[in-house]
């Protein structure tokens, strides 16, 4: 046996170990917070935005990332007081015949000064005309930059507006083809943003038109600084914001698709605010000191849409049978943990347009099986259910929901393949109508029953919008148009009741739930605007 001097061995190993070890111990103690971190806010969002222009999309991720941070609207809607408030327009007036709307614009509103564009003038009527004409007129140089403008096209605002003129640099007049009860409300939505006409002209000159939606310039409280997909978006405070510079110097959207990771990052303080904590995590959040929850009304609908352009889903009897095969109670319990209302119709019960007299399809697998056989669907029939793998306000866990439906359908002899897509990819593929069925939903933009029906079920939306069922029923569409033209609420109510009966009969989509949605934040963060009918806004947010 060799005799060794133990001391030396100790020295080598311990000193080496110590070199790394002491560093760790020293770093592990909490450092004093850097003042710079106090002036910025990290919002952990749930996915990649498609671009930074709300006009071109209805995806709430895109809206959250741009509508209320980068841009302003002419008029704002305050959901607490339920009143309109001046935005870029200081006042507005509708003529007695309802055909002319006069808007008086705010002066000295500065556009963003960014690394890619330096504005030379402030906001005026040209910008309003430029922004509205972009989605309104095919001849507009930027109209073809985006494939479509789903919100305005499904609301048919492009057809409603006859002409927009500037009577002076700060006075815009909009002429309508027919009176519209909801036009002013629609101006307050996330989609009615004001872009910079000067930026547009500049991009047109340098032939980089696509850049307008990717590198945005607006008048909003924050300007766009940087976006790295799957990582983060960086916004900085607009120093000359007309309503006073934001209390935050920086706003970061930390893109964190996994809900459990967002939750953990909130607990460790890496996120100041997180999007959509899911119901199963509520208990942890409620008990945690230093964290508060904010909730938002259930102004949304989660549904299961069949691609009605694809046999056998084109047959109403097949769709009805499939509806009967689904156990909605279990879904509400296991997916929503009771944080949702069962959906009896597409319109939630809180709305005046909700029809309480519909006969519902009760869960009845035996009957479903018989009906499927009668409709010619043999046992062993295979279908796909597509499900996005991120949480949405209306659906905390579409994959789990898909699993439950898969089990339900297995009981009636149908084999289901669940296809799970990333959000942006899913939306592209859905627009191409490649699916059999999809678990998706809709959040309302304005407090009007029409907003639940037209964007997701009308014929126009089947072509270019969010009608994921591809369903087009002329009778249903006529009812919607009649309702929109009418000023009388009772008449409208009656028309919406009829429309819902048609839906209940045809089942292009199976309504599942109206989910409450939540936002969780650190206690030192105040005034995050998280309310129904609006994308998230950090305009007034403070961090103490």
């Amino acid at each position: 046996m060799i005799k060794l001097d133990i001391k030396h061995c100790w020295l080598i190993s311990v000193s080496l170990f110590y070199l790394t070890g002491c560093d760790l111990a020293g770093l592990a103690s909490k450092p004093k917070p850097d003042p710079r971190l106090q002036d910025g806010l990290v919002y952990c969002s749930e996915g990649n935005p498609e671009n930074f222009n709300p006009q071109t999309t209805t995806s709430s991720i895109t809206l959250d990332a741009s509508a209320r941070q980068v841009y302003d609207r002419l008029i704002n809607y305050n959901s607490t007081t339920q009143e309109f408030e001046p935005g870029l327009a200081t006042s507005w007036q509708t003529s007695d015949d309802g055909l002319t709307v006069d808007l008086f614009l705010r002066q000295d509103v500065a556009f963003h000064h960014t690394s890619y564009f330096k504005p030379t003038r402030s906001f005026n009527a040209d910008d309003v005309i430029f922004s509205f004409n972009r989605w309104r007129l095919k001849s507009h140089p930027f109209h073809d930059v985006a494939p479509d403008y789903p919100f305005v096209q499904t609301q048919q605002l492009n057809l409603l507006i006859d002409d927009i003129t500037a009577l002076s640099p700060y006075h815009v007049q909009i002429k309508l083809v027919q009176p519209s009860s909801s036009f002013i409300t629609q101006l307050t939505t996330d989609y009615m943003v004001i872009l910079s006409a000067e930026y547009g002209h500049y991009l047109n000159l340098v032939d980089k038109k696509e850049q307008i939606d990717v590198l945005p310039v607006g008048t909003g409280p924050f300007y766009f600084a940087q976006y790295i997909p799957d990582e983060y978006i960086r916004f900085k405070a607009h120093p000359n914001y007309w309503d006073g510079k934001s209390k935050l110097d920086q706003l970061i959207f930390d893109i964190t698709p996994k809900s459990s990771t967002r939750l953990a990052k909130l607990v460790t303080g890496e996120c100041d605010v997180i999007a959509y904590p899911i119901a199963s995590e509520m208990e942890i959040l409620q008990d945690k000191a230093g964290i508060t929850l904010q909730s938002r009304n259930a102004e949304n609908i989660a549904f299961w849409a069949f691609n009605t352009l694809k046999p056998p889903f084109d047959k109403p009897e097949v769709r009805r049978a499939l509806t009967r095969a689904i156990d909605l109670q279990t879904i509400l319990k296991t997916v929503y943990y009771g944080m949702a209302f069962p959906a009896k119709s597409v319109i939630p019960p809180s709305s005046w347009g909700f029809n309480p007299n519909l006969t519902l399809y009760d869960y009845n697998p035996e009957l479903a099986k018989k009906e499927l056989e009668a409709a010619g669907i043999k046992a062993g029939f295979e279908m796909e259910i597509w499900a996005p793998h991120i949480e949405r306000a209306y659906n905390p866990n579409s994959l789990k929901m898909a699993e439950l439906i898969k089990a339900n359908l297995a009981a009636v002899g149908i084999r289901v393949n669940i296809v799970d897509y990333e959000w942006t990819t899913l939306r592209k593929k859905l627009a191409a109508k490649e699916h059999d069925s999809v678990l998706i939903g809709w959040s309302a933009d304005i407090p009007d029953p029409d907003n639940y029906l037209r964007p997701i079920l009308s014929c126009t939306s089947a072509i270019l919008g969010n009608n994921r069922a591809g369903w087009c029923n002329p009778e249903f569409d006529t009812l919607l148009i009649k309702a929109q033209l009418s000023e009388n609420r009772e008449t409208r109510k009656d028309l919406y009741f009829q429309a819902q009966s048609i839906l209940n009969q045809q089942v292009p989509i199976v309504p599942i739930a109206h989910s409450m949605s939540f936002l969780a934040k650190q206690d030192n963060v105040f005034k995050v605007n998280f309310s129904a009918f609006s994308a998230i806004s950090f305009r007034e947010t403070e961090k103490l």
Binding site: I2, K3, L4, D5, H8, C9, I12, S13, L16, F17, L19, T20, D23, L24, L27, A28, S29, K30, P31, D34, R36, L37, G40, V42, N48, A225, Q226, I228, P229, D230, E231, Y232, R234, Q250, I252, D254, T256, T261, A264, K265, V267, T268, G269, E270, H389, Y421, E422, T424, T425, K428
Partner: protein
């Protein structure tokens, strides 16, 4: 010697060839149109489609297509990503430094910890110290790395709040990318109070680095230990001892060096473990490197990116392995002798 080199190069080229074939066939095997899969442009007009189809020779035989594909690869053209619509090579080199940085620190930690421990365990063979070190190494060797990572997050992040759990730096610090290596970039940036930023970056580094180092550390401890035991039993150690060398001299001059030499070629193996573990670690700690990028590409069905990632990562690993082997042969005369003898 020459023949040896030829053999190694042959191995390299054959493997690269097979990988390129696989990567090429993926373009056809992925669902969807090969023109779109190869180019990465999801919506093409008819004339664009025709042009690209001709450029890629997709209207010709598979063999010709493959040749065009190879030419493109040699020019570094892997098409554009579905997701970002930027050239994949750009995306790849944007995320690569983060992975290299992480692996490099893990490698340093590995060597600093495992070589002394392995040496110590080997010298004190069959004593309590040896058993303790060796059992701990075996335990950590058997634990899957993703579990270690989660465990660390649970202990050091969620329960104690000592360390952050994701990313390379607090996002509120805006460090311009110059080299892509964060610690260098912080130094090159013009931020005031860099101390805070460095501290934050180091905080973010600790957990991923340790998680990543766990497996290599245990492997190297094992290798080093058995190599030391082997060397210690050799006659020249006894001879050196009888000459009256102190233990310190004996270990530093003879045991350490001679024990290290045979395990150097196994570092190639270590490298493979490191690359695979880096990907897993990156996903756990949301570290914006290659692994994170590939996983996102898979979720987004970004076929051109998956295809390119497969080719680039696989070729990098094979090339480095072969280079390591050749380098080892050049520095270790014993290897050459063995090779000549068995020829």
């Amino acid at each position: 010697m020459f023949i040896y080199l030829i053999r190694r190069l042959n191995l390299l080229i054959t493997t690269l060839f097979v990988i390129s074939i696989i990567s090429f066939s993926l373009g056809h095997l992925f669902p969807g149109d090969p023109v779109i899969n190869f180019s990465g442009h999801p919506s093409l007009t008819y004339s664009e489609y025709q042009t690209i189809s001709q450029q890629l020779a997709l209207d010709k035989s598979y063999f010709e297509q493959y040749l065009v594909y190879l030419t493109r690869i040699f020019h570094g053209d892997f098409g554009v990503s579905f997701g970002s619509q930027k050239p994949i090579v750009d995306d790849f080199f944007r995320v690569l430094p983060a992975s290299i940085e992480l692996s490099f620190y893990a490698l340093v930690v590995t060597l600093v910890i495992s070589l002394p421990l392995g040496l110590w365990a080997g010298i004190k063979n069959n004593t309590l110290i040896d058993r303790v070190i060796f059992s701990i190494a075996t335990v950590f060797n058997s634990i899957p790395i993703f579990w270690v990572g989660l465990l660390f997050i649970l202990i050091f992040t969620l329960n104690t709040g000592w360390l952050p759990m994701s990313g390379r730096l607090n996002l509120l610090y805006e460090v311009p990318t110059i080299t892509g290596f964060l610690l260098l970039d912080i130094g090159l940036s013009e931020l005031p109070n860099k101390g805070y930023v460095y501290l934050d970056a180091l905080h973010h580094l600790i957990l991923p680095t340790i998680t990543l180092a766990v497996l290599p550390v245990t492997l190297v401890i094992g290798m080093m230990r058995s190599s030391v035991i082997h060397v210690m039993g050799l006659p020249y150690i006894k001879a050196a001892q009888t000459k009256g060398l102190s233990s310190w001299q004996l270990i530093s001059r003879h045991v350490f060096r001679n024990a290290l030499l045979p395990i150097i070629p196994q570092f190639g193996l270590l490298f493979n473990t490191l690359v695979t573990s880096t990907m897993i670690t990156e996903v756990i700690f949301s570290w914006p490197g290659i692994g994170h990028w590939i996983i996102e590409a898979i979720y987004q069905r970004d076929f051109p990116a998956i295809q390119a990632a497969l080719f680039i990562v696989a070729s990098m690993m094979i090339s480095i392995n072969v280079l390591l082997e050749i380098a080892h042969m050049l520095v270790n005369p014993l290897m050459r002798k063995e090779f000549n003898a068995t020829k």
